[in-house]
Amino acid sequence: MVQKVLSGNYAQSYAALLARVQVVSAYPITPQTSIVEKLADFVATGELPAQFVKVESEHSALQVCVSAAALGARTYTATSSQGLLLMHELVHWASGMRTPIVMGVVNRAVGPPWNIGADHTDSMSQRDTGWIQFYAESNQEVLDTVLQAFRLAEHPSVRLPAMVCEDAFYLSHTVEPVDVPDQATVDSFLPPRESHAVLVPGQAMRLGSFTGPDHYVDFRREVADAMMRVPKVFEEVEADYERIIGRSHGGALPTYRTEGADAILVTMGTATTTARSVVDELRAEGRKVGLAKLRLFRPFPEDEVRRLAASADRIGVADRSYTFGRMGPAATEVSAALYTAPRHPAVTCFLTGIGGRDVTPHEVRHVFETLLSDEEPRTHWQDIEEEGVKVDG
């Protein structure tokens, strides 16, 4: 184990290196690019004996990974924003083909207007594709989660692709000390990919194929069942990671000071760190508030969310993207999960940090105050309400 000062992007690159990926394919896009630049360095120096396929689009990048995985290679790619949207067709293809690809997603706003700030619209619009989705809070968590994602994605009872998402700039371009495990330790956590249902030269086999409604539904059901097996396998994977590498990030929905809380805020990614400090301040003032970090978004940690309802009467969800005509996607999911809970706390959606706006302690405090007030739950476009929209100067 050595400590390095790494950006979130380089944490992705080092994790892919330690995972001994065999095929990397990518297309440049801000703010993802430095992930694959670093991987290109690793490949050029021979540190990573992999094939790096430099493609002419993100659509091709993911196709390269799908086809390489179909022949048995461990594959990695990374992208952001428009790039992920262009991949969308192949995002479905990767899960339907059961290819255990791991993809770094640097969450960035979607145009127009052009904006390169942190925003979850890109990966949220891939919600229904059959990919496992993690959202990381720190660069350390990025590195650890990428390694865990490979183990999870390749697990015989899962065999699904996984995205490890990190907020643009707050993680991608901010450096912090990261413990980088040594290769031998990672090797004992993550063995080489087991070949299963891959093409073999000289053998008749078809991967993909076409079916009528009879078999088609079987294939969809298999993806659905594999996804539902993820929570249990992830628990094992994270326990193994802790045993071998010595760190855990607390599962799918780690909580903070939720005991006896009247109001709990659910956050994703980097907003969590700020919110945690605000929880400490409010607790010091005697306010009963807590925090839950939505680390695993697909499959959705339904049971863990229901447990939040044990004490809290009010649950806020800080969403970094919006489902037009509804509310934030995380808030939608939390509400749905609570419907079958024994208690029904009110759920309020706070749209915070859209397009790279800072989620400040001041703002998080305001979120908690809104939650603790008797205001009817609704969707708050927090930034706009606080600062006002300036029209015509």
């Binding site: 493609v55 689009s57 196709q63 086809s67 390489a68 022949l71 067709e89 078809r206 194929s209």
Partner: protein
Amino acid sequence: MAKLTIPSQELMYAGHSACPGCGPALSMRLLLKGLGPRTIVSVPACCWTVIDTPYPTTALRVGFLDNPIEATGASLSGLRAAADALGMKDVNIVGFAGDGGTVDIGLQALSGMLERRTNAIYVMYDNEAYMNTGIQRSGATPWGAWTTTTPISGGLHGKPEPKKDIMAIVLAHHPAYAATINPSFPEDFDRKVERARDIVGPRFFHLFTPCPPGWKFDSAQTIALGRLATDTGLFPLYEVVDGQLHITRKTGQLKPVAEYLAAQGRFRHLTPADVEQIQVQVRSDWQRLLQREREDLSLPH
């Protein structure tokens, strides 16, 4: 009796679901004879998606990977990268894509694969329209042809634009090998496939594949029609190795294109003036091809 030069091995089962007289079905059989069993074929959405038969069966004795319609070039790069990374030797990585999936929606991925010098064979089987979806025009549909989206009505007279020249586009990428092939000439077809098989680098075939239901002709006439396409000069047979072009079939005098056009319902509406316009174009294209061959031969090699 002369000894057949076509390999006897069969890597395609008789049980497939192609239409009678299907050019692409015949061509896959010939292609695999030349390539052998250590072949993986990547196939986009096209007629062959269906011809290979639905899950859980397959019509081929080699590996078959489905890919979305526009991504064949990228799929070949991924397969080759994995084969290299995993130390798999002597594997033919082959794309088998339709004309729409190549000259229209798949052109970017093809260009990327050629530019990256992916060590693979890309075969574009050209039945000159989107046949699998019911005969819609593609960039490879020839001038004047009827399709369901270039109807003969309301002043329309078949496809108003000429066919896209995919070989010129491919040759601009300087592939290791490129050739035109036609299943009506199986010896020429097989010789080129075996030659391409042993070359390293990006290789491309423009494969001519008559389509009885799409072109409206008797399915018993596929081979005869294919011979006419080449012998009228509409689909000349040639190969380009290291940039040098060589015509592999010359018959002294070209047959009139009217013979080829009259054999197909999709050209039935053409007037004598239309036919003459096509004839003039074909003659000029053929002269240009002969000129290119002469120039290439005169260059230091």
